[in-house]
Amino acid sequence: MRRYALNIPVSTAVIIGLLVSAVVFINVKHREEQELRQKFNHIAFNIAKDLEKEVNTQLYTLGSITTFFETAEFVDRYDFYALATPLYKRSSAFQAIEWIPIVSSAEQARYESFAQFDGFSDFRFFEKNAKGERIPAANRDVYYPTFYLEPYQGNEVALGYDLGSESARLAAINEALKSKSTTASSPVTLIQGDHSRPATLIFTPIFKKEKPNSPKRHITGFIVGAVQINHLLRNISPSKYSNASTLKNLNVTLFETNNRENRIYISSKNYPKLTAPSYRKSTKPTMRNIQEIQVANKTWEVLTSVSHYEYFFLPNLNPLYAAGISMLFFITLIIYLISLLKQKVHAENNLKEKTASLISSEKSLQATVENMADGLVTIDNKGTIQSFNNAAEGIFGYSQMQVIGKNVSLLMPELTRSKYDSYLKKYSETGKKKTIGIGLEVEGLRSNGALISIDLSASEITIDDQAILVCITRDITEQKKLERMKNEFISTVSHELRTPLTSIRGSLSIIINKSQDDFSDKTKRMLATAERNSKRLGQLINDILDLEKLDAGMLSFKEDVLHANAIAEAAMEASEAYAKTYHITLSIQCQPPDLMILGNEGRLLQVLANLLSNAIKFSPAASQVKIEVSHSDTMVRFTVFDQGEGVSETFRPYIFERFSQADGSDTRERGGTGLGLNISRAIVEKHKGKINFYRTPENETAFYFEIPIFSPK
């Protein structure tokens, strides 16, 4: 999978790259070719034009000799030499320039003797047999002997050769006689010189008036130029036409053609052997150009070509460069693509792993949420329920399907609903979040219409700019019911205990205080003990009620701004009577200024009364108990000093715990519920204060509590 993911696009890119490179190569090559072809055609055209010009120049120069012959009475061998020499010297194309008189058979002997007179003793009209051997000219009516010849050197063998003895030459002669104009022969092999090289003979007729002053003229002979065609071609250098290095090795081939079907190979440049190259158009992509030129009465075709080999391996690198560049581009592209794909594969794998871990964590989260003990309900800012877990289903009696997408007011009784609506309205108007908070007790509505008590904790979270309210709900209906039962029980018990206690205490009090009867001292003591213990029982009931409230976290009270000194004085006053029974003197000492505190008067008095009663109880008879009000920068401290034995070492850690008293015997003797200090600590802590005790250097026991100074702003 991973392999394929990488391979398919890359191999596609490779193929496309190769294709594009090939197309670029072909295109550039083609354009280069077009350009080259154009250049080549231009060169070929120029070559043909120059050839034609060269040949016609030769023809024209020959004309100057014929004119001389026509006008002079007689032209001797030396005259001819003088006329012809500059011509052949000027043009390397001429192998020889000859005078060919037309000689009838009757005049043969006269001409031969004339030449012999000129110094060519063995001069005879001759021809060549089939084997190429020199033989005396056969008997003919007319001879066309080579009579004058320049340059003589190198051409001597041709002197006396009868041009009429050979068909190609005779054809050109006859054409000239007939047309009375210059003609060129088909390619011939010269008698003299290189046999392998073709030549053409140009016959320029010499006209003579039959009689002086007669307009009638007839042809008396020819000035013949033997042109070595190779020499003509030798002068063609492509560099003369173009500096294109690719066109240096041109093949130029000449054909004679008077009709399209009959081409006669004349000569070529660059073909080492005199074998005619294929004239047919090659199937290979060679460059060829054919131009026609006129040479006297003949039409020549100039075929210029570049060999397939040279053409194909043109040293022009542009197409290769172009292809290379495009290849390079694609290689870069492929490398980029591969790296991109690797990244993608890597990213995909990463994504898969992450997705897998996300899915598993999502699943575990889902499972956690679904199976958590508390009901979880999420709602959007319009109150639409978005999720509803299993526990919520249990609490409200609806299934997920029934509530998701519905408004949350479905789960509320009328009263809560209207509160909620106003909250929502306010929220959507002001955008102000109101934290609903934690541990809120609200009423909910079950699907069967029953009201349930719910402990609701709600917090707002924002997901994708969407405010979502996450509500954790716990059904506390049972808990509330139990709580109510407990409250009722305690209330009832305390009531039921108080009622008989009222009678007992009332009775005792009346007997002790109002009875006129005389009792024995023992009876009086017993009555006092009974009264004291009935009071203790009453205190125990009060303490138990307080404890119950402490446990329920409901020890709540109203707070007022109070004078610290007044509290202390009130507490002292309240304990005065109790102190008297123990023969204890109370005193108070307040450090100015009189500071204010925030608290519940009754509860603070309760704490002070507890400390005072403890101090009184544990003081030796006829000793002093002192209340002191002092303060630090932030706290007001109430201290109660007594001269008792103090708190034993072992008891110190437990003194503020419940039902704690120093020892059993003391308890029974001194009275008290063992709850007082525990309740006091709870009350002080409610006032954001602390309670503790210490032993003074004067061997006094000091119990104190301190609460913050109230400073009105």
């Binding site: 009531h495 108080r498 009622t499 206690l501 009222t502 009678s503 009332g506 205080n513 009935s534």
Partner: protein, 122 residues
Amino acid sequence: MSNNIRLLYVEDEADIIEIAECALEDEGFDLLFCSSGSEAVEKAAGFSPDIILLDVMMSGMDGPTTLGNLRKISGLESTPALFLTAKVQPQEVDALLALGAKKVIAKPFDVMTLADQIKDEL
């Protein structure tokens, strides 16, 4: 007509009534004890009390209901009323005060100061 304070006390516990009687005798009260709410409603108009003292938890008609019914009797619309009860938890006290009671005296009450506590509210 003496100058005694006419006190109507509604209490269903006979023992408490006896203690209260002892506590309040010779303190300048004309006392009418009723052992149920309905008895109180029946006798109140004829007694025309200066002050009413009520227990809260009673069989039959409870204290608050009794007070409500007494208030309907002409002449008793604004007679000071006190509760004498063992129900002394703060919310209970607040509820009783909200009914228009002048004071809530906790049981067990102090026999020696009961008379003064009542007189304070006149």
